[in-house]
């Protein structure tokens, strides 16, 4: 299991387009993936779940990866967060 703390750095926050992209990225991997914010634990492969996360610029989220390809998944998804969702 891998845990990563990430910060939302783009101006618009975790809006619909990045939410959809995160789910798409996560779906490529076998490992389980969840996002934890303010005590709320969300399955990262569920778009409707990720969309319930209110994460404006500056907020912190913990990403948890658990499974056979967790390292690959973590590196790609954490990187996407760190790039500010390419915005």
């Amino acid at each position: 299991m891998i845990e990563h703390k990430v910060k939302i750095i783009n101006n618009a926050g975790l809006h619909t387009r990045p939410a959809a992209n995160i789910v798409k990225l996560a779906s490529k991997y076998k490992c389980e993936f969840s996002l934890i914010k303010d005590g709320l634990n969300i399955n990262g492969k569920s778009i409707i779940g990720v969309m319930t996360l209110a994460a404006e610029k500056g907020s912190e989220i913990t990403l948890v990866f658990d499974g056979i390809d967790e390292e690959l998944a973590a590196s790609e998804i954490v990187d996407y967060f760190n790039r500010g969702f390419d915005e």
Binding site: T16, A20, I48, M51, T52
Partner: protein, 582 residues
């Protein structure tokens, strides 16, 4: 038993005929979702999957057409909505809950998705509230599709449907089960419900305000589509009167049927071509039985209403080909999709004035893939040379030229691909906007035919929304501005040597027909069921008297004068021949 005056509701007679049957209350919205338990789990799971699939198709239909208009932000939301319908966590939770809780799928869907929207609504962020609306939208779409399936199984052929309004997709549903008639709270003579009821040849009374509340499920109803009256649980006397009337009407229909093979020719030899309008493929038989000369208007958007996605070229080709072959050797005029932005745009992009918005040719020219698939399909079905192509909502020369360019492109493509088609296919326009009426001479020289669409033309000339009950009485066919505009369109088109016809509801109004013929129209396109009666009216008059009637009406300054004159004319000339109706 109620007294005579108490059980009568008065509205607008929207489609002629009389029906006596039990009421079926069709309430689409605001129906409560109950947490009824179920026994057949497999059936419930299947219904859910079908509803999810259907919702996906609907969203893709919106997405495919509106993507350019949506902007990147909206497009992303749409994509996310489609993803939600595929969300593995959500779908498996819904499945599991149905299996374990054994409750109606719509209850489970509502309960499960509401958990997410409740969470979103807790947030103080404004955009989260908006997002919650999007999710709510998805939820309602799934529930609507779950319910639709149920409604289909409930409606049977021996009922009168009582509802607040009728949408185009409802009418497709009703036509499939041959309901006996409609009664609606809203709508006027030219509302969608009215148009379709006439084309299905079933009586309808619209604009009754609170019929859907006053009538109870299973009440016996008499609908009088001529007078616009509805009797709730009629007494013996009323029943007897209307049963007698039904048999008189049947006799008259037999009489009218004898005219089937005869031309619609005036006593002094002027022949009017009577075409039929087509909205449902099932109507072809009615059209050929009623002695139509051909089809003057195929409303293609209605034809494919029940398709969840826009039909592709192949699907369209098959349908157009069937129509062309069944009507051959007569002509069929196919109008390209006349869709309003209000039908395809998502809720939050709703146009404030859809009738002044993105519709008809504007939408087609902005959606070249859709437009070309339709033109190609029509061309490919035209090999017997009995098809013509008509463009809706033309307001400028530029739109005509652009459309013709696209038609030529399609011809070039088909030629290269080796398809057979009519190289000289006639291309015409609808004249239904004041700018087209003003510029009619130039437009008529540019096209092969013009067809006057009175429903829109009248509403644009008079600035009256025909569906708005508060002002609908100001929607007047006999307004002098309307009559003089018609005169202008007809005479200028003729000067240009271009064929001119009319395909709006006015062409089917027995009171208006004498005026239209007098103004010089050579052809009319109406609901198939109206053809025999109109033929009878025309065969009883001389063109000479109609011409002088028309010049008289062109000189009047008020609607009242024209209306009175037309009624008087009808009573003097036609009343003895057409009994029972008015």
């Amino acid at each position: 038993m109620k007294s005579e005056s108490e059980n009568i509701l008065k509205g607008i007679g929207a489609a002629p005929g009389i029906a006596i049957s039990q009421a079926f209350i069709y309430k689409k919205e605001k129906e409560e979702i109950t947490n009824e338990s179920i026994t057949d789990i497999d059936e419930a799971l299947e219904s859910l999957d079908v509803a999810l699939e259907k919702s996906k198709k609907e969203l893709r239909k919106i997405f495919s057409l509106a993507v350019d208009k949506l902007g990147e932000k909206r497009a992303a939301i749409f994509e996310a909505q489609i993803m939600i319908l595929d969300d593995p966590i959500l779908v498996s939770t819904l499945h599991n809950r149905i299996k374990h809780e054994m409750r109606l799928p719509e209850y489970i869907v509502n309960d499960e998705i509401s958990k997410y929207t409740d969470l979103m609504n807790l947030s103080h962020e404004l955009y989260m509230k908006e997002r919650s609306h999007d999710i709510e939208d998805i939820k309602n779409r799934i529930i609507r599709n779950l319910k639709k399936k149920k409604w289909k199984s409930k409606i049977t052929s021996d009922v009168v449907v009582v509802t607040s309004t009728v949408s185009p997709s409802d009418t497709v549903l009703f036509s499939r089960v041959n309901v006996k008639g409609y009664v609606t709270d809203f709508g006027g003579l030219t509302s969608h419900a009215a148009i379709v009821a006439r084309s299905l040849n079933i009586p309808a009374v619209v604009g009754l305000h609170d019929a859907s509340n006053r009538i109870k499920e299973g009440d016996l109803l008499i609908i009088d589509g001529f007078k616009g009256e509805v009797f709730i649980n009629p007494d013996e006397k009323q029943l007897h009167y209307y049963q007698k009337k039904i048999s008189q009407l049947q006799k008259q229909d037999t009489e009218l049927n004898k005219l089937r093979e005869l031309p619609a020719k005036t006593l002094d030899g002027k022949e009017i071509q009577l075409y039929a309008n087509l909205e449902l493929i099932d109507e072809i038989e009615l059209i050929t039985n009623n002695g139509a000369k051909g089809i003057g208007l195929v409303r293609t958007e209605q034809l494919f209403e029940e398709y969840e996605a826009f039909p592709d070229e192949e699907e369209q080709y098959k349908v157009y080909k069937t129509i062309a072959e069944r009507i051959y050797p007569e002509t069929v005029i196919i109008r390209t999709f006349d869709i309003g932005g209000d039908k395809v745009l998502p809720v939050d992009l709703k146009e404030p004035n859809p009738f002044l918005g993105w519709r008809g040719i504007r939408l087609l020219l902005d959606s070249p893939l859709l437009f070309k698939s339709q033109i190609r399909a029509i061309l490919r079905a035209s090999s017997h040379k009995n098809l013509k192509l008509m463009l809706p909502m033309i307001t400028s020369m530029c739109e005509i030229k652009k459309s013709k360019e696209i038609i030529n492109e399609c011809k070039e493509e088909l030629k290269k691909e080796g398809f057979a088609f009519d190289k000289h296919i006639g291309v015409g326009i609808m004249v239904e906007v004041p700018s087209a009426a003003v510029l009619i001479r130039d437009f008529a020289e540019e096209v092969d035919f013009v067809s006057i669409g009175t429903n829109d033309l009248i509403q644009y000339i008079l600035a009256v929304d025909r569906g708005n009950e508060i002002v609908s009485s100001l929607y007047q066919e006999f307004h002098p501005a309307v009559v003089r505009t018609l005169h202008h369109i007809i005479s200028e088109s003729k000067k240009a040597g271009t064929m001119v016809s009319m395909c709006g509801e006015m062409a089917a109004d027995p009171f208006a027909v004498p005026l239209l013929v007098g103004l010089g129209l050579d052809s009319l396109s109406v609901s198939a069921s109206a053809i025999p009666l109109i033929k009878k009216i025309i065969r009883n008059l001389t063109y000479k008297e109609l011409q002088s009637l028309a010049s008289e009406c062109l000189a009047f300054k008020t609607e009242k004068e024209i209306n009175n004159r037309m009624k008087r004319f009808f009573n003097e000339k036609e009343k003895d021949h057409i009994k029972n109706l008015y």
